[in-house]
């Protein structure tokens, strides 16, 4: 019977040592998780062997159908590549899933990504850089294809401070100014192109409408802050050097203080300050309380929400779309958003090569790019999409009844104005924090010394960033 006792003891000891080894492997210093860097296999891509790759994304049902079509087309070129794909709801869902999988070395082959996600995965050394493919004579992009990309969007994949390419743009959106064209024409208002003009127009509208109106809504506080930094060419973040979070400076504090004045005068509001409802609600007049706005700065990815209500078969008002106000109209700056795609390291180079081929297909296939754009109002990342006749016809219907096309058209016109923020581990922390910082400063009504309040809020935000980024 001693055996029984020893079995129990054995089980207990085994459990503990197993757990110990598990966590020391996952925790101590094994470092076995990361796959090797890609080396181009001799003989190139092996078309004789079947290879399965997985793609994580956050597509809704409509986009998934489009993706399935694209996979079918891709299969005609590379019949031996099988593609499995899975949606994780939203960008954060994809990130959280992959983050967990990276820890055990079980990541997918390619995935939807935002720059900071790439930096996160790369903290575990899991992302495959793309330069080796980009320049490859056989499998890379042709010069023509490279030029076809909207330059600012392609550059985003190389904003990691080391000059290497980590991701490819898949479909993009930007921010535009939606305005109530009918109202503007009726009152003979001109569409603002600079922030000074914006202030003037807001005051005019406020004088016309009185209390029950907030002339301008800005959906994203983070975008607002970051874009202002770009427009002022003031410091925001840096992917290199000791200090990543450099947004606490005189210029930035000044514009925050200025916008706070606007908010306190009820000239402007943001999503967080509008009880977390998109400000498009105020713009289209569907806000629950009846407060109206006449301008709205929002994403071209959410154009449908800017659509006014139908009254007697007609839209209540005409919507105009314009570039967001600038500091220097000669050098306009607008943000770019939307998913990119990144590749992950894998032990088998054939798998990595196959996933590159698929990524390349998605970024160069005009049918896929056009279909996605028509489905969700995001911009295609290549200019040649316009050669797709169906897409061209769709773009031509741009107007209040087809606001999505209107938004896409406007976004395409900004092709030279896109900037890319530095991407690094913690860039999303900075993004979140400046959004919170702006909201906090705008909504502060009681501080006796507002300059001091803003100063300490900036300091806190930098400290918070540095803490969260583990510095």
């Amino acid at each position: 019977m001693k055996r029984i006792l020893s079995t129990i003891l054995l089980v207990a000891i085994l459990t503990l040592t197993l757990l110990g080894s598990l966590t020391s492997c996952g925790g101590g210093g094994g470092g076995g998780g990361a796959a090797p860097d890609f080396v181009m296999p001799e003989g190139g891509f092996d078309t004789s062997k079947e290879v399965t790759i997985t793609f994580y994304h956050s597509m809704g049902a409509g986009l998934r159908d489009i993706l399935d079509d694209a996979i079918e087309d891709f299969g005609k070129i590379y019949p031996n590549i099988k593609i499995e794909h899975q949606s994780f709801g939203d960008y954060d869902g994809v990130r959280d899933q992959i983050k967990q999988e990276v820890l055990v070395g079980d990541q997918p082959n390619l995935a939807y990504c935002y720059p900071d996600h790439v930096a996160l995965y790369n903290d575990a050394n899991a992302v495959q850089t793309l330069d080796i493919f980009m320049t490859d004579a056989v499998y890379g992009y042709t010069e023509e294809q490279k030029k076809d990309f909207v330059a600012g969007w392609l550059a985003e994949g190389a904003a990691f401070g080391d000059g290497k390419m980590y991701s490819l743009p898949l479909s993009k959106s930007t921010e535009v100014l939606y305005y109530n064209k009918t109202y503007f024409e009726k009152h003979n208002l001109s569409v603002p192109t600079t922030w000074d003009e914006m202030e003037a127009v807001c005051r005019q509208i406020k004088a016309l409408e009185g209390d029950a109106c907030i002339p301008l809504g800005y959906d994203s506080e983070s975008n607002w802050f970051i874009t202002m930094c770009e427009q002022y060419e003031s410091d925001y973040t840096s992917a290199v050097g000791d200090k990543n979070f450099i947004f606490d400076n005189e210029t930035n504090r000044a514009f925050v203080e200025r916008f706070r004045g606007w908010y306190q005068e009820k000239l402007v509001t943001t999503k967080a300050l509008n009880s977390n409802a998109y400000t498009s609600n105020l713009f289209t007049g569907s806000s629950t309380g009846g407060t109206r706005s006449y301008m709205c700065i929002g994403s071209t990815g959410g154009t449908v929400y800017q659509q006014p209500k139908m009254v007697d078969g007609k839209y209540e008002f005409e919507v105009g779309v314009a570039q967001i106000p600038q500091i220097n109209p000669a050098k306009p700056k607008v943000i770019s958003q939307g998913p990119s795609v990144c590749l992950f390291k894998k032990a088998d180079p054939q798998e990595v090569l196959a996933s590159w081929l698929f990524a390349k297909f998605l970024t160069t296939d005009i049918n896929f790019q056009a279909a996605v754009s028509m489905n969700n109002g995001y911009c295609p990342v290549i200019k040649s999409v316009i050669e797709n006749p169906e897409y061209k016809a769709w773009l031509d219907t741009a107007g209040t009844s087809n606001l999505q096309a209107y938004g896409v058209k406007a976004a395409l016109e900004h092709a030279d104005s896109y900037y890319a923020s530095p991407a690094f581990l913690g860039s999303s922390i900075a993004r979140d924090q400046v959004g919170l910082l702006l909201t906090k400063c705008l909504s502060e009504a009681n501080a006796s010394d507002i300059k001091a309040f803003i100063k300490s809020a900036f300091e806190d935000a930098v400290e918070e960033c540095e803490y969260q980024a583990g510095q």
Partner: protein, 305 residues
Amino acid sequence: MKDNVTGSSASVKTMRERDMQKVSATQKIVKICVQVALYLFLGVMALIILFPFYWMLVSSVKTMPEYSQSIPSIIPHEWDFHNYVEVFQNEDLLLGQLFANTLFVGVVSTALSLVITVLSAFAFARLEFKGKNLLFAALLATMMIPGELFTITNFQTVHSFGWMHTFTVLIVPFLVSVFYIYLLKQNFQQVPNELYLAAKVDGTTDLKYLWKVMIPLALPTLISITILKMMGSWNSYMWPRLVANDDAHRLITNGLRTAFTSADGVTDVPLQMAAVAVVSAPLFLVFVFLRKYIMKGVSRSGIKG
């Protein structure tokens, strides 16, 4: 007073009686006043306790326009029950699935947990073995430690087991509750040892004895444990959110917290309140029918949910 001293004993007695009567009359008035005050106080407190429930129900039958009037109505103008229909059809909420998930996790983890608890409690209560007291003391000591401390590592552990986004991860880590073992052990110990020895002489196996004698005797405690455990899975929030927050495995509390913001960011509060009412209903039903056990269990456990 003078009478009291000088008067006959009889008159003293009547005076006292009269006094007593007087006193008891005022006492009666005071008593009634006190009672009225008590009922008033309790009534007001009860209203405060009940008001959130009332508000939840009232809001859930309002239409969105009525709800969003700048001054809310205390009694809805029109009763609109479509929210209750919609709650079950809402594709973001998937209430049916949430219920099914929660029920599944609740039932399985309760059943397994009961088996483990009964066996352990039996070992501690009836059997003699080396290190029993030491082991039991060690177990009790772990109760001191806040659960959050375990969560950090358990997250890594289940992760390296490959259990993420499964029902296993929602069930297995919480199967053993030292507290329930303790509770049941106390209960088992009240059964006289002679019974066990007699059963042993008869050749009854332990399991049979457990099943035939101990379990029936400890039934009230077991029911209390069952209810608390079920309530636990109904209310659990953080762990499921960390490890199984996908459509197929999401539990009810998580679904509730996240599902109600529409694409344009406006919370449909009436719909939300209807969902809250629907989700709370099973707990209320359980409470109505098993009030005695819940109260008993709670008063001994000192834990919420």
